[in-house]
């Protein structure tokens, strides 16, 4: 018996490899934590230095101020730049942007939910492939091209005007354009236009998380709810919606923050009233007011922070 064991041991140990790479892998296998550390180090450095570091530099800038006379940045701690945010013109930019982002998020979630629900619950095989293609394909083409295409669609001489004429609906289009505040000379020069394009460009970011969340809701939850007496509407509000909520929140983080920070869409399609992204762009470029630009970028971060905190307090992530 003991002889057999010895022979066995020898069989294992004589197979030992001697190369330097083999030794390294032996050490790594024996110390799994070391392996994890080595694997994580490069991405940690990237996130730590490049990502968080630059964000920190940005935060720091927002506590500096611009000397109005010399146009130079005063590198001393001050809250005066943040105070500038509260000036009427700047406050309007913030409110306008937040309002737009909120409406875009709401519209995206309302439009995305049925699409995501269909994809998660009913689509299979080629309909599912078609769904992914339809949702993802717009993301593969250039964002600028899509926005310019929308400008042409929405322009005074564009397809929509032509279509409205052909359908004898010009009165409707003119009525919409005549609305105070949201109207304008043409759809491509109005808040409505900006809103439509934002909804278009961000909607995939809302559909996919909702679909992923709904995908994880087994069909028998819905059956169980019906079995316990719930009508489809009750099942939706008590079972499906709460379970999809993390997906809706995830999607709204995308649509909300992307809208908050975007400067291209409102520049190309929209009236000339600035949004936060455009303000940052002008301030750090031509105006050279990096501190105020930095303070402006802190606004979306703060808003998102509050948003997530409220969502968590409301139990939106309890299912995760």
């Amino acid at each position: 018996m003991s002889q057999a064991v010895t022979a066995n041991t020898r069989a294992v140990t004589t197979d030992r490899r001697e190369g330097i790479l083999d030794r390294i892998s032996d050490v790594l296998i024996a110390h799994p934590k070391l392996l994890t550390l080595l694997l994580l180090l490069p991405p940690l450095l990237w996130i730590g230095v490049v990502y968080v570091g630059s964000l920190f530099a940005l935060l720091l800038q927002s506590f500096y101020s611009l000397d109005d006379y010399s146009g130079l940045i005063v590198r001393e701690f001050t809250l005066s730049t943040y105070a500038q945010l509260l000036e009427t013109a700047n406050l309007q930019i913030i409110l306008r942007t937040v309002m737009m982002a909120a409406l875009v998020t709401l519209a995206c979630s309302i439009i995305a939910f049925p699409i995501a629900y269909y994809a998660a619950r009913y689509a299979s095989g080629w309909t599912k492939a078609l769904f992914y293609l339809a949702v993802m394909m717009p993301l593969w083409s250039s964002y600028l091209v899509k926005i310019y295409a929308w400008k042409l669609i929405l322009a005074k001489e564009g397809i929509l005007t032509w279509l409205a004429n052909g359908l004898h609906l010009s009165w409707l289009l003119n009525g919409i354009l005549g609305l105070p505040l949201v109207g304008g000379p043409s759809l491509s020069f109005s808040y409505i236009g900006t809103f439509l394009v934002f909804v278009y460009v961000w909607i995939p970011y809302m559909i996919l998380p909702i679909q992923a969340a709904l995908e994880r809701v087994p069909a028998n939850y819905i059956e169980a709810s019906a079995d316990l007496g719930a009508k489809p509407r009750q099942t939706f509000w008590t079972v499906i919606f709460p379970l999809a909520l993390p997906g809706i929140i995830a999607g709204s983080i995308f649509t909300f923050s992307l809208t908050l920070g975007d400067y291209i869409v409102p520049t190309i399609v929209g009236n000339s009233r600035l949004m936060i992204g455009q303000a940052v762009y002008t301030l750090q470029g031509t105006a050279g007011n990096v501190p105020l630009a930095a303070a402006f970028t802190v606004v979306p971060m703060a808003i998102m922070g509050v948003y997530l905190w409220v969502a968590k307090r409301m139990g939106a992530f309890d299912v995760l």
Partner: protein
Amino acid sequence: MSPAVRFVNVCRHFGPVRAVDGVTLDIAEGEFFAMLGPSGSGKTTCLRLIAGFEQPTEGHIEIFGETAEGVPPYKRNVNTVFQDYALFPHMTVGENVAYGLMIKGVPRAERERRARDALAMVKLAGYEDRRPSQLSGGQRQRVALARALVNGPKALLLDEPLGALDLKLREQMQEELKALQKKLGITFVFVTHDQGEALSMADRVAIFNDGKIVQVDAPADIYELPRSRFVADFVGSSNVLSPAFAAAHGGAAKWTSLRPEKVGVFAAGSPVPEAHAHADGEIKAISYQGAVTRFSVETEKLRICAEVPATGSSFKEGDKVRLIWPKAAMVTMEEGA
């Protein structure tokens, strides 16, 4: 009194697949009824037809005397315990159990009290505030049971509810379910592929094969008097004797079932008692199974299995032996296929 559930020639087809194919069935009120069959035999679809998750392609279903076709699940007075429990993960155990009452608009204080009582009934008092994810499989199973029973259904449908539990727990739950059904006196319709489960719990068992019911009987009759080779093979194990073999050994010239535990193994040339049949052969395999030892004996025409209590039998593989069984143990069947 109308039966709890009545199926009249019910079919449910999914495209070309005839999942349920002409099932006619009465389940009496207060009965513990098991639907037993291999997977894909249509038993679960039948349960879903009762619950209302499926509608029959053809035929007629009555539940407590009322036509069930077109009636959605939320209007049926039956409740289901799902195979994987389907507890809502975003609700506490208490909220899960009270869900049906909440939907009916029962005031909060009353539904909380009734949920507590239901949880106490399944021995989970004090678990109201836990999440389903914090419970073990057996505990989740009990919550699912409480969630169904709290609504006071006239029939409880159970879809392989014990399938995910380990053996000890399963045996314990079998006893508890049986006791619960006796206490509540409501109809239980129980789907399972485990023959032991069906035989030990049910008042009557329906055996499903290929979308059809092949036999409905009390457990003892299912086991002792299988009507077809399928039932004989599926419930327990059985030696199926061809008409010629049966006739040559004192039976009728029909396909015949002979349970292995009825067959005794004796030394070659042992005397054959009155009203007994015998066959001589050679032991090809012996498998020790704890309580019994199983012999596989090659006779002239047929390999026969015999199970004898494992009390020091000294036969070895290759031994010539004589198999002896009472003639009464040979059960003729309607078909051999």
